[in-house]
């Protein structure tokens, strides 16, 4: 059944509409049991920073792995039995068919649990969920990625996707900052981006650091310094709330309209499928209506971030 066939109708689904017993990874919104995680194996763990690890996981069912597709910006629930599940952005490229990558910062119960996993361990995955970035709409435009700290995880899939489709987009600028050079994630990507002449990569750290000869300065300040022209440009930002706040101010100062600015939100989530109720921003649920929102959309919603 195609996605549009049902979603355009304002009606309830029935058992006849869904694929009984299947997970979201198998049947998307027509999952017979959207609470059912799909078993996956951790194939590789990358220690990104002292407290961030990336997990590359592969569905145990080859058919599911082969058939899995997602939009850049979409998220998934990664879980460990006995501990629980939490929502993370899928940050491997949509064209990557071998594995899904999630980056996890050690912070709460579930993330501590995830950090204790080793390769070959099993996890439960419920994905893909939510709405991704409108990358198709952005074709022919300049892209400006502004991210800080672990915020890079939410944008990595989108960056990789747009770089793969490089010819479809005009100028691409990546501005990425972290507290210290040690806290920079995806060093392997950064090296590659910096080596490419068709992207403008700016890496900054908050304060001088022994051995760091790159740029020093907070992301919003560096952004103002770079002063990208708003014309025909889309700005995409993600990072700690305080950074986002000042980045949005900087973008406004630079003349970006609300419709040109996108961000991806974080909320406490449980079900991930728009039912359990907690991740709402007014009438929108971050898990199904987001996590990607344009600033214009956010302006219409109650301020309960």
């Amino acid at each position: 059944m195609s996605d549009e066939a049902v979603s355009s109708e304002r009606r309830r689904l029935t058992f006849a509409d869904v694929e009984l017993g299947s997970s979201i990874a198998r049947a998307a919104r027509y999952a017979g049991n959207p609470y059912l995680p799909e078993t996956a194996t951790v194939v590789e763990i990358i220690q990104e920073t002292p407290n961030i690890k990336s997990f590359r996981v592969r569905f145990d069912d080859e058919q599911v792995q082969a058939g899995f597709s997602f939009q850049p910006g979409q998220v998934g629930q990664l879980g460990v039995l006995g501990i629980g599940e939490a929502t993370f952005a899928i940050n491997s490229s949509p064209s990557e068919k071998e594995y899904l990558q999630f980056s996890v910062m050690q912070a709460g119960e579930v993330t501590i649990g995830l950090h204790c996993l080793s390769e070959r361990d099993k996890v439960g995955v419920r994905a893909p969920m939510g709405r991704g970035f409108p990358v198709e709409e952005w074709k022919g435009k300049n892209l400006l990625y502004v991210m800080g700290g672990i915020g890079s995880a939410a944008l990595r899939a989108t960056i990789l996707y747009t770089l793969e489709q490089r010819a479809e987009y005009q100028d691409i600028t990546i501005l990425y900052g972290a507290r210290t050079p040690v806290d920079l994630t995806y060093q392997y990507d950064i090296d590659e981006w910096e080596a490419r002449s068709d992207i403008n990569t700016v890496i900054t750290v908050d304060a001088p650091f022994p051995g760091w000869d790159g740029r020093v300065g907070f992301v919003p300040a560096v952004l103002e310094e770079l002063a990208p022209a708003p014309a025909n440009t889309v700005a995409v930002t993600c990072g700690p709330p305080i950074m986002i706040k000042f980045v949005l101010q900087a973008l406004q100062k630079l003349g970006f309209a609300d419709e040109q600015v996108y961000t991806t939100l974080e909320k406490r989530m449980k079900c991930g499928i728009g039912i359990c109720g907690r991740c709402n921003l007014g009438p929108k649920y971050v898990c199904v209506d987001g996590p990607v929102f344009s600033l214009a959309e956010l302006r219409d919603l109650p301020d309960e971030l």
Binding site: D3, V6, S8, E9, R10, R12, L13, T14, F15, D17, V18, G21, S23, I24, R26, R29, A31, G32, N33, P34, Y35, L36, P37, E38, T39, D61, V80, L81, G82, I83, G84, E85, A86, A107, G108, G113, L114, C116, L117, S118, D121, K122, V123, G124, K267, R268, K270, C271, I273, G274, I275, C276, G277, R278, G282, P283, V288, P302, D303, E304
Partner: protein
């Protein structure tokens, strides 16, 4: 229309209970009326106006298990040098028995738990652990009021993936197997406001069969096909013309007993316009931020999902949650988007009369008034809605 003589009620219940589990309001030892399983020695309590809780729990249990799994081995993480070796041994052990390690649970405290579920799910479903059995036995709920039934039908949209969202099989399997026999209200209370929300003490939304108390028994109307087949039973007599007349009179009398304390038009707009209004602080003053209103509500449906491990077996389950619970929105970083009491308070009313209608084309309140009655400080939803409706007018006035 059919007629059921009052003394035939036990016969009907006995008859129904052969095919399904029958739930009726029953006065408990402490005098509180709650829905309970019917058995021949159980007295049905139809005089008390509303059961303490609606039979929401019959389709949406307070605690419901999704997944079950068990642990095969628990070993200490205090000596990490042995961890890899132990894991490997466990794998070999389990694989030689034809099972599969599906997950390894990291140290919660000082222990490393290795989790395994041997064999497939109990229902032969693919995936992790076994999906706990979904309860698909038939049940009949008799004696709830039309507002309770309407509350259930209001929840149907969110669990039914209305508008192209996700379908909840646990809820729907129960809902499909539930037959609702509602009884028209006889003596509505001052807290009732179903009529303000387009309902009625004889409303039929979500009802399969409606019984109206009249002299000597009940006037019985089938509302849905499910109800049609139910009233085919021989215990129901063909109704004489005066039965219908008495039923109409009884319904009218009940209608007259329900106040219309506010205008629904303008509530949604008022909530929207008044989102940042300081009025919320005043309204929330006497709220103590517990969750009583949401748990006695026939249509509040928010829930939480947890994993718990007890003696070698684990479960992932959902349990009711509510927007007054700090853990409801608390993020890992420690940030809570709804930190203050008034923000949590505001969410409940906004959800019922603004967010939910926007998303699911239905109100999320049937006007039963339980939240007014059982709130420890009697926070009055009617007062909140009246006050917020006035917010629009105020805004308009300024504009």
């Amino acid at each position: 229309m059919k007629f059921l003589a009052r003394d035939q009620l036990p016969t009907l219940l006995a008859d129904l209970s052969t095919a399904a589990e029958v739930w009726v309001p029953v006065k408990q030892q402490n005098g509180v009326v709650q829905f309970d399983r019917w058995a021949p020695d159980v007295d049905v309590e139809l005089d008390v106006f509303l059961a303490r809780q609606s039979p929401k729990e019959n389709v949406f249990p307070q605690t419901e298990t999704y997944l079950e799994y068990r642990y095969l081995m628990v070993c200490s993480a205090q000596r990490p040098e042995f961890t890899d070796q132990t894991r490997e041994e466990l794998r070999q052990l389990v694989e030689s028995e034809g099972g599969e390690v599906v997950a390894e649970v990291p140290p919660v405290a000082q222990e490393l738990l290795l989790v395994a579920d041997v064999g497939g799910g109990s229902q032969g479903e693919p995936g992790l652990g076994s999906a706990a059995g979904m309860d698909d036995s038939a049940q009949i709920i008799l004696g709830l009021r039309p507002c309770d039934a309407r509350g259930l039908s209001q929840m149907d949209n969110v669990f039914g993936g209305y508008g192209g969202f996700y379908f909840d099989p646990y809820y729907n399997v129960r809902r499909n197997n539930t037959t609702i026999i509602a009884v028209t209200c006889r003596t509505p209370r001052s807290t009732c406001f179903c009529r303000a929300l387009g309902g009625s003490p004889a409303g039929t939304e979500g009802v399969d069969v409606l019984m109206t108390e009249i002299e000597g028994g009940f006037a019985v109307e089938a509302v849905t096909p499910k109800g049609e087949s139910l009233v085919e039973r021989s215990v129901f007599e063909k109704a004489q013309p005066e039965v219908e007349e008495s039923a109409v009179a009884a319904k009218q009398a009940a209608e007259a007993g329900v106040n219309v304390p506010f205008e629904l038009d303008g509530v949604r707009e008022g909530l929207k316009a008044g989102f940042d209004s300081p009025v919320w602080h005043d309204l929330a003053m006497r709220c103590i931020s517990c969750g009583t209103c949401t748990y006695v509500c026939p249509s509040c449906y928010c829930f939480n999902i947890n994993d718990e491990i007890v003696e070698g077996t684990g479960e992932r389950f959902r349990c009711w949650d509510n927007c007054f619970n700090p853990m409801y929105t608390l993020e890992t970083s420690g940030h809570n988007p709804r930190e203050s009491k008034h923000a949590r308070f505001r969410n409940r009313f906004s959800h019922k009369f603004w967010y939910y209608p926007d998303k699911y084309d239905s109100l999320l309140c049937s006007g039963c008034g339980r939240c007014i009655m059982y709130c420890p400080t009697h926070v009055d939803i009617r007062e909140v809605l009246r006050t917020m409706s006035a917010e629009t007018t105020a805004e308009k006035g300024e504009a």
